[in-house]
Amino acid sequence: RPLTRNERLFLNRALRVNQAGELGANLIYSGQYAVFKSNARLRPLIRHMWDQEIHHLDTFDALLSRHRVRPTAMRPIWNVAGYALGLGTALLGEKAAMACTEAVETEIGTHYNNQLRVLLGMLKEEPGMFQGLGEEGGELRRLVETIREFRDDELEHLDTAVEHDARKAEGYEILHHLIRGGCKAAIFVSERV
């Protein structure tokens, strides 16, 4: 059956905020990389996580242009804020950088799970929708698979950060809650603006 208005609204917002989120993650890693370029232990780690985020961003860029979804207008602000966050936490120390990664990935993991919940709720109501219509069928199913895969990647980053002593950072509690709060606000704004 055709998509309802609310479903279109949801998909529109979901794609927009996901692209904004991946952009933010990209910038955070690039900020952290700028500081840890000379750190033999962290450099390959951050580079690997950054490359995965680049792949995520490219996927969402392609989805946005295919479905003609408006990108977020806050992009210039997220550009600065993301890089500053990555750079700032990296300058605070290795453990702080890992704590930042942990907080961001936790928030993104929750966010993707919420989206999956809504999409799978749509499936439960209308199993036929995921089979797809016409030759280009399965669009929503592919979206679900993509989000699942990316959520698993993000949770892997989360585990990596915890392994690298994220929880032992100075001021971990404050950092963690501050960053998670900032992410929640950014998600709220990017969905709408």
């Binding site: 700028a34 003609r68 979804v69 669009e139």
Partner: protein, 258 residues
């Protein structure tokens, strides 16, 4: 003009009312090959009535008369006019939507390329072609268009008119094959919106043969946008080079910032 909102009927909480507050700003657009694109923002009945009314616009203009004639043709009682709380503006908006949704069917780029024997059309040429086709579609009602533009500029109608211009701008860029999804998405659409709106206004006053002056006006506006783009890029380069030079000078003085 400012008294009009006070004199109008109070809006009820219907789907029509929520549309007229025009808070959409391209929030609901999700185009897909599978589930189709969002079409008219009017219900099937309203679409039928407005389509019938559009036939009369060349003679009676964007007025309640056209709406009433359309209604009567379809056999509805005159009271059905209350389906359109925004009155004539609904007719204008429907006309704009119809032309926008039609634009894709009007232009077939592979065919144009084959006929002209060109390799590939540049983005600017595609945009130019699309703008011209959309403007040409205005020709049957061009003598009534100033009235429509006036209605669009009423205070209570401005959000909906601007939204419609933004959607048209987005449609033209998408048909030209634009795939940008960063800040340039906004700058491109804003500049094209300005170009299109000014050209349409010019067209309503143009009396030359086949609107030749309008096409020249369009070309000049598109050139303006391009030169502005080049100027901005040049400024960006200059700032980048200067910043780099400063960093290098600092490095030479052993002050490593980056």
């Amino acid at each position: 003009m400012l008294l009009r909102p006070l004199l109008q009927q109070p809006r009820t909480l219907t789907l029509a009312a929520s549309r007229s507050t025009a808070t959409q700003l391209l929030q609901r657009s999700y185009h897909s090959a599978e589930y189709g694109t969002p079409g008219h923002s009017y219900s099937p009945t309203e679409t039928a009535i407005l389509s019938a009314a559009l036939h009369h616009v060349p003679t009676t203009g964007f007025t309640k008369t056209s709406l009433t004639t359309g209604l009567r043709e379809l056999g509805y009682p005159d009271i059905t006019l209350n389906l359109f709380p925004r009155g004539e503006f609904d007719l204008v908006k429907f006309y704009l939507e119809k032309q926008r949704l039609n634009l894709g069917a009007l232009v077939d780029f592979p065919k144009i390329q084959a006929e002209a024997g060109l390799g590939r059309l540049s983005m600017t040429q595609k945009i130019r072609t699309l703008c011209i086709e959309r403007l040409k579609a205005n020709e049957p009602v061009i003598h009534k268009l100033p009235e429509a533009l006036g209605l669009m500029s009423l205070l209570e109608n401005i959000p909906a008119s601007v939204t419609e211009l933004a959607e048209l701008s987005d449609e033209i860029w998408a048909l030209a094959g634009d795939t940008s999804v960063d800040t340039s998405w906004y700058t491109k659409r804003a500049s094209l919106g300005a170009v299109y709106a000014s050209t349409e206004l010019f067209m309503t006053q143009d009396r030359s043969a086949d609107f030749a002056e309008t096409w020249k006006f369009l070309d000049r506006r598109l050139e303006d946008v391009q030169s502005l783009g080049k100027a901005t890029a040049n400024i960006g380069h200059y700032v980048g080079f200067t910043g780099n030079a400063v960093l290098n000078i600092l490095r030479s003085k052993n002050v490593r910032l980056f």
